[in-house]
């Protein structure tokens, strides 16, 4: 029987890999994938704690996170397509119209 804190630790590690991806990579598609990775790390924590408490609330929230991720992916990829059509780049450093 694995204690829930192990799952929380794994979740923290995966979340930090996602944070690193957002901070270190400049390709917006990979930044976007890192965000999905962070969402999933949090899902893992939700399911582990839901199992530990023996109720189903955490799983319901994971369900909602999945729907939000689906909507976010659709809109986000639409935005990326639009940017690529106008600027011919997916490098986050070259998309600086609104940068101060």
């Amino acid at each position: 029987m694995v204690p829930p804190s192990y799952f929380m630790g794994l979740s923290a590690v995966l979340f930090c890999i996602g944070v690193l991806g957002v901070l270190l990579r400049r390709n917006i598609i990979i930044i976007f994938m890192s965000i999905e990775l962070m969402l999933n790390a949090v899902n893992l924590a939700f399911v582990a704690l839901s199992r530990a408490w023996g109720n189903v609330d955490g799983q319901a929230i994971v369900f909602f996170v999945m729907t939000v991720a689906a909507a976010e992916a659709a809109v986000g990829l639409g935005i990326i397509l639009m940017i690529f059509r106008n600027r011919e780049t997916v490098n986050a450093d070259e998309i600086n119209l609104m940068r101060w």
Partner: protein
């Protein structure tokens, strides 16, 4: 879930997650991400959350990732060296992530054990019926709002990705 399979799956998921941010080609990153999501789905099933685990594999690793794949192919992205960027940013990023991970690990390792930890689970825990019971009673409002969210997402995606015809103002009606 026994310890040994957990350690194996945990190592696998960390390796694939590192692959997401270390691969040069976006498609390889995406395949790493799909494998990470599948491994997390297996972990869900190991945690007796069977329905959510399969949903994770079908919806997340299946549908959402195919959307990513289509966009990468549509943009025809090629393999690029990992971008330079500012060295200071990289340094601060690595330092911040290390601090965050240390903080989170210290925090979770000092968590008190949950109250119902040793309680035996209900027989239908993690079944689709149990999940639906929660979704349609306690979370009914959130569930209905979700449908509006998806509708708005679809409309937004179509409005954004629509190719405006020549002669019309960009973003305006064709």
């Amino acid at each position: 879930m026994p310890l040994l399979p957990f350690l194996f799956l945990a190592a696998l998921s960390i390796i694939f997650a590192a692959g997401v941010i270390l691969q040069r080609h976006p498609v390889h990153s995406l395949l790493s991400l799909v494998l990470t999501l599948v491994v997390i789905g297996i972990l869900f099933i190991g945690l007796d959350a069977t329905t959510v685990g399969f949903l994770q594999m079908i919806v997340y690793a299946g549908a959402i990732m195919v959307l990513f794949l289509f966009v990468i192919w549509l943009l025809n992205l090629q393999s690029q060296p990992i971008e330079g960027g500012h060295l200071a940013l990289k340094f601060v990023g690595a330092l911040g992530s290390a601090a965050l991970i240390a903080e989170l690990l210290v925090f979770v390792l000092h968590l008190p054990p949950p109250v119902g930890h040793s309680k035996p689970l209900a027989l239908d825990y993690g079944s689709i019926g149990k999940l639906a019971q929660g979704l349609f009673t306690d979370y009914l409002v959130a569930f209905e709002v979700t449908s509006i969210l998806l509708l708005v997402g679809v409309v937004g995606a179509v409005a954004l990705a629509r190719r405006t015809t020549a002669g019309s103002a960009p973003g305006g009606a064709p």
